[in-house]
Symmetry: C2
Amino acid sequence: VELLTYSIENRGNLPVYMYIYECIRRDILSGKIQPGERLPSKRPLAAHLGVAIITIENAYAQLITEGYVQSREKRGYFVSEDMKDIVVLPDRRSQEAGNALTSGGKEQNTAGDFSSGIKDQFENPINAATSIFADFSASSIKSDSFPFDSWAKLMRRSMLDHEVSFLEAPSGQGVQVLREAISDYLYKSKGMNVDAQRIIVGPGTEYLHHILIQLLGRNCFVAVEDPGYNKVGRIYETNGVRVLHIPVDEKGMIIDRLKDSNVKMVHTSPSHHFPTGSVMPADRRNRLLTWALSQDAYIIEDDYDSEFRFEGRPIATLYSMDGSHVIYMNTFTRTLAPSIRIAYMVLPEVLHRKYLDKLYFYSGTVSGFEQYTLASFIGEGYYERHIRRMRNRYKKCRSKMLEALRESGALKVISLNEDKAGLQLSFRVRDEYVKNAMNLDAKMLTLGVKIVAVKSYCYNAVRDYDNSYLLYYSDIDKMDMIKAFSMLKSALEN
Amino acid sequence: VELLTYSIENRGNLPVYMYIYECIRRDILSGKIQPGERLPSKRPLAAHLGVAIITIENAYAQLITEGYVQSREKRGYFVSEDMKDIVVLPDRRSQEAGNALTSGGKEQNTAGDFSSGIKDQFENPINAATSIFADFSASSIKSDSFPFDSWAKLMRRSMLDHEVSFLEAPSGQGVQVLREAISDYLYKSKGMNVDAQRIIVGPGTEYLHHILIQLLGRNCFVAVEDPGYNKVGRIYETNGVRVLHIPVDEKGMIIDRLKDSNVKMVHTSPSHHFPTGSVMPADRRNRLLTWALSQDAYIIEDDYDSEFRFEGRPIATLYSMDGSHVIYMNTFTRTLAPSIRIAYMVLPEVLHRKYLDKLYFYSGTVSGFEQYTLASFIGEGYYERHIRRMRNRYKKCRSKMLEALRESGALKVISLNEDKAGLQLSFRVRDEYVKNAMNLDAKMLTLGVKIVAVKSYCYNAVRDYDNSYLLYYSDIDKMDMIKAFSMLKSALEN
């Protein structure tokens, strides 16, 4: 293998490892480095580029997470063979890579969320008389998490500053200063170049789906992931749009299953699939984009917990690979407080023109007070700090849970998916113990422990997920955790 | 005529005049007093009941406003002949009258609104280079109207009081305390008996219409008033529901036009039609309700500016005549500030059950912070005081405008509809001057005066409204008003 040469001094504001990651990624996408080709070893490359070995390690780690590169034990790093299937889209690609390289996406510690459980609470109607001492069915990390004081202070100031604006209805798309703050934030935290004019603010992602239905009409299918975030399919069905439930394998949605149907929208969370936690690798992303381009269909990239990755930088978005067919969607409800109903999406240009043409008459749906407050909250750095705090907190809960799992001996009977993002771990009952795993969630509930079956997020019964469960991070006492996991172990050993 | 006997001591908390009004209304509806029958004269009735003459006058005035009674000059007061067509629905009626009589609806001065113009701003895309010195196209009464201090104080307190609740997503229907505050308010201010469980809170009436569409499906027509609030029809059309535009005469929607069609919902503002300002009289209300019952259709009673009646008490709602087929809808956006996006509707029982069954999965759409704040704002009397202040303010602007109209001599060329509610007056060019009235709004615009053509709210060109215009109350200088109205006069005299 040839040593790669990149001019570190051209990195702009990017951290060195991210610059190297972006350069290699660009070379892979452009075909300059071929599928199957071996990448230089870390040490010589570090010496060649004049950087620390850890820098190269970080860059490679990100490439591996995103599926561009595979590590083969004792043999080194190779460009993923899957990249062979990628149809390179030279214009968008190089443009995008260029953007990423000049966008100066300083690494921000952007993670935090404490309500993922809520998303699916309605899926879990179990009510037991037993007193629950260990609830892993929804994130229970709640106290002192929202910065009420700062929020109230900013709210008050916004009221005084914007007194006159408050007496006007906020525009249907959301107030300009908030859309600009979101655009800045996306640029700084994820290197995304987003035109504030194309952002639509709404009181939750559910409302944004309603907008999309009005833009795209009902004479088509929308595809959702199975298993996945069931509520999305339900919203479309309730609104008269037919829904296709596409099975998910370890790389995400199986693209072939989209063929031969009039699918005009696909809902997916490529950065962190719910509930399996998988990251959609580069080849699958490319196949999905290629499909969307060929069908002139849209991908809704639901980046619902992207702020909440414990290691590495945030996964590059689908949107930044192709903004013409990707609708980027995210929410503040998860990162701030469930009571704050503010979400947003970025519309591709064609859809945005349609929006202006067809839906111009709608009034704003989010209180002007809160829009201005949130704009200041983001613009003055409160948001980043809040997310950093939340992420650390979750990280600690996660470590505590991992320790409790180890110390309880439960790992003998279950195998963990050590997901490094999001708000929950998933586990699978080991094959030898499957015989005792029937209705494990119900069994545990009678013992005072709540866990969630992945099966409950499946639309079609998929046997693959029969023995998989979720454990939401929780700040219950470690001794209670150990007790709960010991009970889990006993239940499976019988 | 026989003197009517009612036991004033049974009035509960009702003011005496309202009690008498309710008793007579009940007797008319039950057929005890027949259509065409003469009511006792004021003086003897007052003596008979032991109340002041003014009390009887007030009671009769309200009966006249609502169309139950007609006053014939020098002959006295007669039950409206139109009441002949009324199909009496004895159960609901007596129940409702009973409720009203025991509900203790103390008279509240409930009026105020300052954004009616916004509702239709998008209808009025005229942009002239001329500098506008008199804008009657939207209400411009804006400054020092919103009680920022009280709001901020309550918001802060709510945050501390409800810290934990804020970390839960508000329910799809809205938080309980707000729904209870709304229910109390409707009871106190309008004598409505509303179960808080059947209230749905949303970020604007537009969203509430989306909910209704999801409940009733698309396989039907919705009927809207023509002229009327055009946005409603647009919302339904955009969502794939066919819209029937029903012409309006001086009593409101022409019910016969609803026949022979699959109409499942009718949108109307019986207390104050937009933009004509008419109040739907009792006989028309009854015909509308009878139609709805016979078709099992729903009436959306949009009470958009009911808080804003300058004389008499608020008009009795359709909802309180029959809650089984009326969806009562109202918004706080108009009475508080356009930036606050909180509206609500009361669903009839059958629809509410459908809602729980079908739409249970939706999250709340209004910030919990604002819901709790508004609940305190209403519950602690701030809302009433605010409305009273706003109403007085509008009343003053209205008087100023009426004076300016008189002093300018404009009444020679136009005739006013002296609407005693809402945010605007309407006028009609007198027949002798119609020849000069072509494009009057455009003509006035070139002179620096903005007025709104009623025609712009018509769906089908209706010649009846060709020469009608709206003047929104405005707090511009009286001299400017006189100047503007003098110009109007000259333009029409040519």
